[in-house]
Amino acid sequence: MKEMHKDLERAVDRAVFKTEEPEKIKRLFTRSFDAWERETATLGGYLRDIRLLRGLTAEECAQRVGVSRARWQSWEADRETPTETDLCSLCRGMEFGERKREELFNLKARAPRNRLLAISRLRPELLAARGVAKLESSLEWKKLPGEVQKALMAWGKQIGLSSFAEVMEFFTSLPDEEAREAWVDEVLERLG
């Protein structure tokens, strides 16, 4: 019986993780947990997580909150941050309790940081095909809140970068996550 149980466990491991080695399974599990944690650490990720847990489509959520589907998707993708009024109607429409409401407002406060980190992770060379890169970076730039743009330009001037394209080029060339985080802290410090 015990042997049968072990066989079954091994079969499940093979089917789910494509391996039976405990170390590999642990690594895979940790990696997917880290990815999940990273994804839900932003306002958009949090919204998406709740939506999936509740078994709702983006369209249904948008209807409940009274916004367009496109806007809901932009919030989930962290391309746009909901205003405080939006957040209030979101909490009403989705029937969020006090705890979720508080979490959403906390995440909103961290949104500029997440946005900056997200654009620093952009890789313009991937969009370079057919001259799209230039336009893409200008579109990304336009999506940044005005005060973040100003802080970025002021920071850029200090190190001799005069245009937004040069600033964008600088931060998309940062080598790793640590460097990106340090850079985002530096810019946000300027914002106060």
Binding site: G55, A58, A70, A77, R79, R121, R123, L126, R130
Partner: protein, 212 residues
């Protein structure tokens, strides 16, 4: 190829139906966006893109950006919502078929066939994504049940040509039945090798002929 694509499509639809049993009876075109976001884990956002470009699929940030100015690119008679859904299905094709090849890059989807392709594989990938989109939105077994399509296949077997007008009518009729864009339906017929495309006629329509 068609068999493999159909299997993949059925798997995705099954996963969608399990997640949203109340939407089970909807058309595939009503499911495509949720399949992209909730089954494949991509974001779909509508934002302005370069003129002529329908969508960008960025694998690194798992985002499909659909051109929000689509109505300015398309012909005034084009149903923009159908064009958008067909575009999403095309991007889904890239995600399902070319993930490994493009995991570190992005695919750009342009309106029409005018884009210049870097190499023959790029062109082939676009055609594969078109076929996937067609099979996703228009289930082959349902399409084969349509009398017009049966007539077309009979003509193909009997090597009997059909008129250009009849073929275009068939494309438009089936496109409207399955709620997809006529361009996608035409590409479906082309990729299935049921028809071939000739030069543009005086009427402005491309010549369509049964492919023997």
């Amino acid at each position: 190829m068609v068999k493999r694509l159909n299997e993949d499509r059925d798997e995705l639809i099954q996963e969608f139906d399990l997640r949203y049993p109340r939407l089970k009876n909807g058309r595939p075109s009503e499911k495509v966006e949720s399949v992209l976001t909730d089954i494949c884990g991509f974001h779909v956002v509508d934002e302005p893109l370069v003129p002529g470009q329908l969508a960008v699929c960025d694998f690194s940030s798992r985002t499909v950006i659909v051109n929000s100015d689509m109505e300015q690119l398309a012909h005034h008679k084009t149903n923009v919502e159908l064009l958008r859904l067909s575009t999403l299905a095309h991007e889904l094709g890239h995600i399902r078929l070319h993930w490994e090849e493009m995991a570190s890059g992005c695919s750009l989807h342009y309106l029409g066939d005018t884009g210049q392709f870097a190499d023959s594989r790029s062109y082939q990938k676009e055609r594969e994504a078109d076929l996937y989109a067609g099979l996703f939105l228009v289930p082959l077994r349902e399409l084969l049940e349509q009398r017009g399509v049966q007539n077309l296949l009979r003509s193909k077997i009997d090597k009997k040509q059909m008129s250009v007008g009849t073929l275009w009518n068939l494309v438009y009729r089936e496109a409207s039945r399955f709620k997809v864009s006529p361009t996608l339906m035409k590409r479906y017929f082309l990729e299935m090798r049921w028809v071939r495309q000739g030069p543009t006629r005086k009427s402005g329509l491309r010549e369509l002929r049964v492919r023997f």
